[in-house]
């Protein structure tokens, strides 16, 4: 059988002869299919042996179009006229997708569609001829003109899109006008929580404990907010300061900001554009308040800052002008991965109270490190401060923690995520170390590709069942611990499948004290005794057989977890009866044999006879 990657239609095709009685139901002559097209769907009742062509005829009258406009897609396969629907595996209740090609059979964009007209008739021929090259080329060729057409046409919409990008001031203004945002912003406590509980913020605070002082000082926060809002000024500052070199002098006449504090920081700004984050963190000792900027520039502790600022005038002015608003940090994305400068502490003179400088990274313009950056008006620039004067307060997310427990949960989950992996790993490693025999078995386990694959398939279902944050686990775990997790899961699964698996694994695991003695209903240990020789003797073929059993078992588990609780006695009651009738009197032995052979009576009989020494 050639190696065809085929999906359900083929499988259904081959599966059908073996009979799917469940699907046939009552009316085996008429099938109800759902036809989905362009966002709507309708039911159609058709006869079982309808050919695709006939179906298309029906559809063309229904949708009022020509037959050659119709393209039917089922499970990703194009349906050809000569097939019958049942051949393609279309059963009751299945959905067939329909695409009604436009009359010109052209693509959406006007420009390049001519080319496609010539391709369209070729399309079906290609399919039938199976000329793979023919498929690619026209597709490739037509792609580019369409692309260029796309680009051409999208100029206008593109700018429109860009206008909607979060970074733009208009958008920010729009955002701020939203009353719910204003409401959120005006809740001081919320904003404080918001900022302080952002993980990045917390990281920042760990590295720079002084930063936490910032948040506690509400005045500073207010200042920050107000100063941060003036995006235009920030840009101006940046442009002004960027070309300058490191200034020794605090004042830059161009700054006209009135603050001696500006220049140095802005220089740093220019440089810091490409500096990495550590520097930013280092420098973010304190952003605001009077001439904390001095302290900031020198990377000193906040305490100095909070002590009476040397030059009281600017901060005073600032404070006067500041409305009573809580802090936000301005987020401004400049480029991927780079922190960008957003807020600047601007002089009070320049503070326009335009709500223009607030942005959240709504549109996904930011990478994980988009930071709202505070640019403190720096004081006299010292050369040592190529440090970025941007305290990096990443509150890109308004962690408005209405629900504090959620916060903790988030952190907990993140922490527990690592914990889980380390726990499991730790446990497993210990276990393996203590039990070299078990370790050998585990290695065998791993080396059986089919089994590990089964386990892998099991894993998502398993996780769902256990209601773990499957996403976190699945995605955040390093591969190694994930593999080990799978193994552990698989082994645990086997343990719960005691009746079936224990005959195979138990002898090894029991001896190591890993598996508890089977708590199932066979207290009689005698049967086990001669199950062991079964396993011990011809290890390989038996192992394979049993592994096949295990695999099947696992597979059936995946499909139907409800099978689990059924006791073997019930499942095999029929076989038990037949065994009894044949004269195998040992009830327990029969049961064991049946379990080991998965209910295969004849195999069980062979087993019993062997063990009884016939």
């Amino acid at each position: 059988m050639p190696h065809v990657i085929s999906r359900t239609p083929r499988m259904a095709q081959s599966g059908r002869p073996s009979g799917l009685p469940a699907d046939k139901k009552i009316s085996s002559s008429v099938t109800r299919v759902i036809v989905k097209t362009a966002g709507k769907q309708e039911d159609f009742m058709i006869a079982d042996d309808t050919s695709v062509r006939q179906f298309k005829e029906k559809l063309s009258t229904h949708f009022k179009c020509q037959m050659d406009q119709l393209v039917l897609v089922f499970m990703g396969r194009l349906l050809k006229d000569h097939d019958t629907l049942s051949q393609r595996g279309i059963l009751d209740g299945h959905t067939i997708h329909l695409v009604i090609k436009s009359k010109r059979s052209s693509r959406s964009l006007a420009h390049s569609s001519r080319k496609l007209l010539t391709e369209e008739p070729c399309h079906r021929d290609r399919n039938t001829e199976g000329n793979s090259n023919g498929v690619y080329q026209p597709a490739g060729v037509s792609h580019t003109p369409v692309e260029s057409a796309l680009l051409v046409e999208s100029d206008a919409p593109k700018t429109h899109t860009q206008d909607l990008e979060v970074g733009s001031p208009e958008y920010i203004a729009q955002m701020l006008q939203n009353p719910s945002i204003q409401q959120l912003l005006s809740d001081t406590d919320l904003m404080r929580q918001f900022i302080s509980e952002h993980p990045d913020m917390q990281q920042l605070m760990q590295q720079n404990p002084e930063v936490s002082h910032i948040l506690d000082n509400s005045e500073i926060l207010w200042q920050t907010l107000e100063l941060a809002r003036n995006l235009a000024v920030i840009q101006e500052i940046m442009q002004i300061q960027q070309p300058e070199q490191n200034l020794e002098h605090p004042l830059s006449p161009q700054a006209h900001l009135g603050l001696e504090t500006m220049p140095g920081g802005d220089n740093a700004l220019g440089q810091s554009y490409v500096d990495c984050n550590d520097q930013m963190l280092n420098s973010s000792q304190d952003p605001f308040g009077g001439n904390p900027f001095t302290a900031l520039l020198e990377g000193q502790v906040l305490e100095q800052v909070q002590s009476s600022p040397p030059s009281p005038t600017p901060p005073q002015e600032r404070r006067d002008q500041l409305p009573q608003l809580p802090t936000t940090r301005v987020i401004y994305t400049s480029s991927r991965g780079l922190s960008s400068i957003t807020s600047a502490n601007v002089t009070p003179n320049r503070v326009n109270h335009t709500p223009s400088a607030y942005a959240t990274t709504i549109s996904a313009t930011c990478q994980s490190h988009t930071c709202p950056v505070q640019q403190p008006a720096g004081v006299p620039a010292l050369p040592s401060i190529e440090l970025t004067q941007q305290p990096q307060a990443e509150d890109k997310d308004g962690t408005i923690s209405l629900d504090r427990s959620d916060q903790k949960l988030e952190d907990d989950l993140q922490a527990s995520d690592e914990q889980i992996s380390s726990q499991i790993t730790g446990n497993m490693m210990q276990l393996l170390l203590n039990n070299p025999y078990l370790a050998a078995q585990v290695m065998l386990f791993i080396s059986m590709p089919q089994l590990s694959e089964q386990c892998r398939q099991q894993l998502p279902a398993f996780l769902q069942q256990t209601q773990l944050p499957d996403m976190l686990i699945a995605l955040a775990n390093p591969k190694a611990s994930q593999a080990i997790l799978q193994i552990e899961q698989g082994l645990q699964l086997l343990a719960t499948e005691a009746p079936v698996v224990l005959p195979w694994v138990a002898p090894y695991l029991w001896g190591l004290g890993w598996l508890p003695a089977p708590s199932c209903s066979y207290p009689d240990t005698v049967p086990w005794a001669w199950d062991v020789p079964d396993i011990a003797e011809p290890k390989d073929p038996e192992c394979c057989h049993k592994s096949g059993t295990v695999l099947q078992k696992l597979q059936s588990l995946a499909e139907d977890p409800s099978q689990l609780p059924q006791a073997p006695e019930i499942r095999f009651s029929q076989q038990m009866e037949s065994l009894q009738a044949m004269g195998f009197g040992n009830h327990h032995a029969n049961l064991q044999a049946l379990i080991a052979t998965e209910g295969d009576t004849s195999a069980a009989i062979r087993k019993l006879r062997r063990s009884q020494g016939f």
Binding site: P2, R7, T37, A38, G39, V73, M75, G76, R77, L78, H97, V99, K101, S105, R107, S108, E119, H123, N127, T128, E129, G130, S132, V135, A139, S142, H143, L150, S154, P157, K158, T161, Q162, E165, Y171, M175, N178, S180, P199, R336, I362, S363, A364, C366, Q367, S368, K396, D397, G398, T399, I400, S401, L402, D403, S405, D406, E410, L413, M471, L475
Partner: protein, 169 residues
């Protein structure tokens, strides 16, 4: 990696979906505990397609400003050719996935990815992705923020629109 089977007269194109766990609604993600926003887009015929508040867009895979995805998941293969797919997208773009039809809860990027994946391969996107809106709405925070969320524009920049412009036949 298109596979062609000349003897079977079919050519298969692989289909993937890209999953971005990075917060699209970044400020939303953290307070709502473990909910990270899951943005998905579908990749077929060497293009990435996604749905945002300005309609269906396409770009080279990983070409939005979101950058490379957190995971690339194989959905399967499809026989649907590129041109047919464009037709299909246009029809979607005029009906179910018009620009105005974007609803962050009911009809979002994941809805689109799910729909297209089903068309292309018959398979769906895992439910933990498509269930995100209901997860959010089940928290009081999500409910509170709902009016705001509905009003904002969510569109990863970097793509170009797909589908017939409004009003054009």
């Amino acid at each position: 990696p298109c596979k062609s089977y000349p003897w079977a007269e079919i050519t298969l194109f692989p289909v993937w979906y890209l999953l971005f766990l990075r917060p699209v609604l970044s400020f939303l993600a953290y307070p709502v505990s473990s909910l990270r926003c899951r943005h998905t887009s579908i990749v077929v015929h060497k293009d990435e397609f996604y749905f945002g508040s300005s309609g269906i867009s396409s770009c080279p895979p990983g070409g939005t400003l979101l950058g490379p995805p957190d995971s690339v998941v194989d959905v399967g293969s499809t026989e649907v050719t590129e041109e047919l797919f464009q037709e299909y997208l246009s029809s979607l773009g005029e009906s179910l996935f018009r620009r105005e039809a974007y609803d962050v809860f009911e009809n979002n990027c994941n809805t689109f990815t799910n729909e297209v994946a089903q068309f292309l391969t018959g398979r769906k996107i895992p439910s933990y992705i498509t269930d995100l809106p209901s997860e959010i709405l089940s928290t009081p925070f999500g409910q509170a923020l709902r009016p705001f969320l509905v009003s904002i524009q969510i569109q990863p920049p970097g793509g170009s629109p797909v589908g017939r412009p409004n009003g054009q036949s």
